[in-house]
Amino acid sequence: MSSKSFLVVDDSKFVRHVACDILNKLGFETEQADDGDTALVACQAQMPDAILLDWNMPRVDGITFMRELRTVPGGTTPTILFCTANNDLEDVQTALMEGADEYIMKPFDEEIMRTKLEEVGLL
């Protein structure tokens, strides 16, 4: 059985590195993008099974990316986990209302990532 694919979208190289390390360890194949614009191009080339998505990024932010992704062919299929430093109740509400499947508040670790992936059925 082939591994599920994850697109990790974050403007921080360090966060992308940490997230990919954890996801690879948990058996996922990972690709990276550093903002919503690049992520959209990557998705149009090959739609991933899931996306780990930062909120605040230069050019196109996470919420705008998610709205645009959901309108492109196949764009409703990826499971989206927001992963952001925004940690107010209203932020979590907004992301879920806009169509995110789960929400991770930074900083995160392997345990948090694992339980969130179990929650959305990816593990």
Partner: protein
């Protein structure tokens, strides 16, 4: 530390809590008791143990027992027991207690409260199914300090992310500075009480569902049997018992039947006699 002091201390802790401390756990005793030794101005843990042996100071003994109680817990821990709660136990309760409309749940060794709060969130999520029911969740622990934390119901960002779905976070919590506090409607559903599992549970009443996960592993065989007998005595004739994934009843009691599909779920073997 001297072998004599350590052995005396192990016997004392077993008498008070049932927890078995073998010689290889000396490191654990040292780690957990070092802050108390400093607090009471003893040079080190061996000196603290000598002081315990001579003084038998109740306040000190309580603090030491608290420190040795393992308090690892998180929301919806292991997920499967909570799926079984929603999909197996609650449907059975709805069917068999339809006229009585009363449900009593016991979380034995509830630690900082994540388990009983998780159950209360599931019951709230089920909405109208339990309208008009009297539901009690009794959550007990042997540590006064951890019970105070559980009653407070305030958790760090790290704690609310381990196992708690974001949807349940926004429904059931409010922000308290950098932390997250459980909302009063969930908090008020839990009756937190001090209880030692070695004591007679008569004062707690009789339960339909008992969660006693990852507790028996700290006890020796005879203490496990005593605790299970106590739980049976505090259970309805068709009550469910949930144990930890690594725990088993083999060789301990025949009172329960293991659920064929749900790991860690047991039910007392007299379902036909259950009062409706």
């Amino acid at each position: 530390m001297s072998v004599g002091d350590f052995e005396y201390f192990c016997d004392l802790i077993k008498d008070r809590s049932g927890i078995v401390l073998s010689p290889e756990k000396a490191y654990l005793v040292d780690n957990r008791l070092a802050p108390i030794a400093r607090q009471y101005e003893h040079a080190d843990v061996p000196e603290l143990l000598r002081a315990i042996r001579t003084s038998r100071d109740e306040k000190l003994l309580r603090e030491v027992t608290d420190a040795l109680t393992t308090n690892e817990s998180f929301f919806f821990r292991d997920k499967k027991p909570f799926d079984a709660f929603r999909e197996v136990m609650l449907p059975h309760i709805l069917e068999t207690r339809a006229s009585r409309r009363r449900l009593r749940i016991w979380c034995a060794a509830c630690s900082s409260g994540q388990e009983p709060y998780s159950l209360a969130m599931i019951l709230k999520d089920m909405g109208a199914a339990f309208d008009g029911w009297k539901i009690e969740i009794v959550a007990t622990d042997i540590s006064h300090a951890i019970l105070d934390r559980a009653k407070e119901g305030v958790f760090s960002q790290f704690e609310v992310q381990r196992g708690l779905p974001a949807k349940m976070l926004i429904q059931n919590f409010e922000k308290h500075g950098d932390n997250w506090g459980i909302k009063p409607d969930i908090k008020s559903k839990i009756d937190f009480r001090f209880f030692n599992l070695l004591d007679n549970p008569r004062s707690l009443g009789v339960f339909d569902i008992v969660f006693c996960r990852n507790v028996l592993i700290y006890f020796d065989q005879s203490t496990k049997q005593t605790v299970l007998e106590s739980i049976v005595s505090a259970s309805e004739k068709d009550a469910f018992l949930v144990l930890g994934a690594a725990e088993t009843m083999i060789g301990l009691t025949n009172a329960y039947e293991r659920h064929p599909d749900r790991q860690g779920l047991y039910q007392i073997q007299h379902p036909k006699e259950a009062a409706a």
